[in-house]
Every structure is written in C-alpha cells, then in structure tokens.
C-alpha cells in the first residue's frame, strides 16, 4: 500500500530569464515502510520534488498526497534531513534532538528518554551536552537524523544528507542508516546523485531525467538485507549499477547541455 502519492505534479519557477520548469507531470507512489531513493543528475529537480513532499514548495499543478490527504504545508508528519548543516548551534546535541518533542509539550523525563534512545541509535551517546560547533560534519548529520527520528514522522525525507561528507565518512553513514532503517522500517524518501549510494540503501530506485524532471526509470533493488558495505562489490550490485548508469549517463549528457538555473 502506498503511503505517499504524487499525482501529475508540475512545478514552475519564475526567474529573471523567464519561466523554468523544474518538474513536469511527475507521478510517483511510495510504498509504506519502504526505502525509496530518487537519483538524478544535478539540477534535475529532485530536491524540488523532496521539498514539495515536505510542504516547503507548492506545486504549480497536480497534488501530493500523504495517506490520501493533500500536502499543503510543512508538518511533523514529514521530517527532513538537509544536505547543509541545520543543527541549531545555540542548543546542545540533546536539546537539538528534543526540539520537536519540546514543541509538542512533552514532559522532560520522556524527552530525556527519547534523546537517549535516538542518540544511542546514531552512536552518539556521551555527546548529549556538546554543542554542534564541537562536532565533525558526519556527527552533525547523525544528530540531524536523530532529531528527525525523535519526532516520529510518518515519512523521513532526506535531501543528499551525506553529500557534504568525505567518502569514508559517507560510507559509514550509509551503513549506519541502513542499520537503523532495517530495525525501524520507517518510510524513507532519499535523494542523491550517487548511484552506489542509491542502490546500497534502496528498496526502490527512481531515476529522474534531466530538466524538466520526470521519472525515467524505476528499479526494484532485490539485494537481500541486512546489507553491509561488502555488497558494493557483489555481482548483483554491479549489475544494478550498470543498468542505472546507462540511463543516468544519457541524462547527464542531456543535463550538461541545459542552461543552469
């Protein structure tokens, strides 16, 4: 059963150089408790699509539905992790994670338990009283993940959350995320331009075309779970990669010939 449905969505922006179509007639259905990854060349509108689901970007036409209800604005139902560092620098790690629960008016004992639980899950027990400034990039993104999870969203949106990290840290973060997801089975919609990252994480990979963005191909990733970084070199992984690369290469060439925003 699908929890999220995107129906014939088109998003256009007014720019100085005229109108820009970021998304055109996109339709997509995301199954409940699945890990879905949208992969596409840079500038294909994949972030716009995620912001649309978050409620941060209105559609020019069409509609996005969460559990059958149209999305009209941001809410706690749809938690988001950004590529940029978005921890609140004036709050400790613990208070960052408790930001959502605090807004809900949750009593402090419960909040403490939640912070403890999710900081434990992302491997940051002992950093409760640290300030974001004192953490590395990877640690900050782990806190951002814990903060989103602590709010218990119906769907977790992730916009290239590991894009700014070095490749070793990125691999570790992917493994950590897969581990958390395999235990929690929360619905995740994840955006990336990194094909390996997409295959490693996903149940379903959606390949987006260059602007205007459309869903060009859908691939079900049947690699068994639990997954570790070792699957990256397995024959089936490589087969998926070749399959998606072919489509992506075509699109990247097209994307390179489209003028930037």
């Amino acid at each position: 059963m699908s929890i999220l449905e995107i129906k014939d969505v088109t998003v256009r922006f007014e720019t100085k150089n005229g109108q820009l179509t970021a998304l055109e007639d996109i339709s997509l259905a995301i199954a409940d408790r699945e890990f879905s990854v949208i992969v596409g060349p840079s500038g294909c509108g994949k972030s716009t699509l995620l912001r649309l689901v978050a409620g941060l970007q209105p559609a020019t036409s069409g509609v996005a539905l969460l559990e059958g209800r149209p999305i009209r604005g941001p809410s706690v139902e749809r938690g988001m992790v950004f590529q940029s560092y978005t921890l609140f620098p004036w709050l400790t790690v613990e208070k960052n994670v408790q930001f959502g629960p605090t807004l809900k008016g949750m009593p402090s004992a419960e909040r403490d338990a939640i912070a403890k639980k999710f900081l434990g899950q992302v491997g940051l027990s002992g950093f409760e009283k640290a300030y974001p400034e004192q953490l590395s990039g990877g640690m900050r993104q782990r806190v951002a993940l814990a903060r989103a999870l602590a709010n218990d969203p119906k769907i977790l949106l992730m916009d290239e959350p590991f894009g700014a990290l070095d490749s070793q840290t990125r691999s570790l973060m992917q493994e950590l995320l897969v581990g958390i997801w395999e235990r929690a089975h929360k619905t995740v919609l994840f955006i990336t331009h990194d094909i390996e990252e997409a295959i490693f994480l996903a149940d379903h990979v959606y390949v987006m075309s260059a602007r205007p963005g459309r869903i060009k191909k859908q691939v079900q990733i049947t690699i068994p779970r639990p997954r570790t970084l070792e699957v990256l070199t397995s024959p089936e992984f490589v087969a998926f990669k070749r399959d998606i690369l072919d489509v992506m290469y075509e699109e990247s060439v097209r994307a390179a010939s489209v003028r930037p925003i």
Binding site: R51, P74, S84, W90
Partner: protein
C-alpha cells in the same frame, strides 16, 4: 623587502614577517605593539619637552597627569565622566531596544523591509549634527536632546546592520524547524531570534563605538557637564592638557566598553565561536 624578492622561476620562501597572512610569534607581536606605544609617547615627549610645540597647542605629558589628578581631586572629572556615560548609555540602550527587534523583522519579513528600509537609507546618510537645530526646537536643550543625538547617530546604523544579520540566517534552518513542527511564531522566537544573537552582539559592539564618537557632537550645544563639554570648554582657554585628558578618558572608556561587550558575548553565547 623588494631587494630580496624572488624572480620568476625561483622558489618563493614562505616565512618571515613580510609574507601575507603568515603568523608571527606572540612575543614579537606584543613587543611591536608596545614599541609603537612607546614611540608615540616618545614623539609626544620630544615635541613638547624639546620646545618644538607650545604647551598651549600640545601640553606635555606631566601636565595631563596633573590635570587628571586635579580633576579627580575636585570631583569634576568624575562628574563629567558620569554625565557622559549616562548620555551615551541612555541613547545607545534606547536605540538598541528598538533597533534589535525591528532589524530582525526587517531582515526576514519583506513587508517590514518595504516599510522601514527607504526611510532608514535616507536617514543614515544624514549627519546627526544637521538634526540638532530641529532636536532643540522639539525637545529643548536638556539631557533629552543629548540622548536624542546619540540615539539618531546609532539607531539607523544598527537597524541596517541587524537587518543584514537577520537576512543571512540560513533558509534551511528555518525550513527544518517547520518540518520539526514549529509554527511561524515559534520559528521567529525559537529559531530566527537566537540565530541572530551572535551577529546582534557583534554589531552592538561596533555601534557602541560609534555612539562614543557622537559624544562631542551631543555636548556641543548648551551643555554644562560631560567630557565633550569639558573638551570644548578647555579649547576656549587654550588648556590643551584638559583637551588631551578628555580624549584619553573617552578612549579608555571606549576600550573598556569594548572589552565588556566581548566578555558578555562569551558569557551569554558560549556556543558561538568568538573572533
């Protein structure tokens, strides 16, 4: 320096004090700073004790010390200082109370910006002294007029600077707050305002410096106390040692407030890296 500069093709030695952005030993830094201070003092002493400049124009160091001693002994220096500090702080605090919230709103709400920015950009290029005749007409020549001069001198600058701080708060920080369940009011009170605080503190420190620079202008008209008044009054009698004393006291108070601001920032905003 130019003599041993390398030619094309030669390796560039990246050490020494003439390399841009190169660190130098802490001891060297302090030695040079102290040396500059001593040299300036030495030049002052040479010009005055050497008889090169008449004491009416530039009093020798010991006369300034004597003037300071006399001023403290008869209480007049303290009285002038207190009077100036009251004017400066009243004007500065009043300006800040309005400029900080208004600036934060102006930088993040286009509607507030549309309302306030044109007037602000007009006002902030006006010399405050041009407003003095109007101020006197409106509020007279009491302490209120002096406070108003400091207010006008700092308020519009603060407004622009703080609006800029607010405008630079990352949109993602605001957006993530919505996805965590914050409403628009909570985004302002719990995210925008705290995110602005380091920038606000830094700019209050900078504009405090400007407030001090308006002191003499503020005490130009119909004052009977204050450091600015003391300086202007000394000019009429050619008491250059009193003028110098006034300048030193203002400089020292400025230095002191600057340090207080730095300390306050460290205490109030321990999470934000300091300069």
């Amino acid at each position: 320096m130019a003599k041993n500069e390398t030619k094309v093709g030669q390796e560039v030695p990246l050490s020494g004090v003439f390399t841009p952005k190169q660190e130098i030993p802490v001891r060297l830094y302090f030695s040079v700073s102290v040396l500059t201070g001593i040299s300036l003092f030495g030049l002052w002493a040479l010009l005055t004790y050497g008889g090169l400049i008449r004491p009416d124009f530039l009093a020798p160091p010991h006369m300034v010390v004597v003037a300071a001693y006399e001023g403290i002994a008869d209480g007049s220096l303290i009285e002038h200082t207190v009077s100036s500090v009251v004017v400066i702080f009243s004007g500065f605090i009043l300006a800040s109370i309005v400029a900080v919230p208004l600036g934060i709103l102006m930088g993040s709400f286009r509607i507030v910006q549309a309302m306030v920015e044109p007037v602000t950009n007009f006002m902030r290029y006006l010399p405050v002294s041009a407003m003095i005749p109007l101020l006197i007409l409106w509020i007279g020549i009491g302490i209120e007029e002096k406070i108003a001069v400091i207010f006008l001198g700092t308020f519009f600058q603060q407004l622009i600077l703080i609006s800029d701080v607010s405008a630079r708060v990352l949109k993602d920080l605001i957006d993530v707050s919505y996805t965590l369940g914050a409403n628009r009011r909570q985004v302002v009170t719990r995210v925008l305002v705290p995110a602005c605080m380091p920038g606000v503190m830094d700019n209050l420190r900078v504009t405090m410096g400007w407030a001090w620079t308006y002191l003499v202008v503020a005490e130009l008209v119909a004052a009977n106390s204050g450091l600015g008044y003391m300086i202007l009054n000394a000019m009429r009698g050619l008491f250059s040692e009193v003028i110098l004393l006034g300048i030193f006291v203002i400089g020292l108070l400025g230095l002191l407030t600057d340090q207080v601001f730095k300390l306050a920032r460290r205490l109030l905003l321990p999470w934000s890296a300091t300069f």
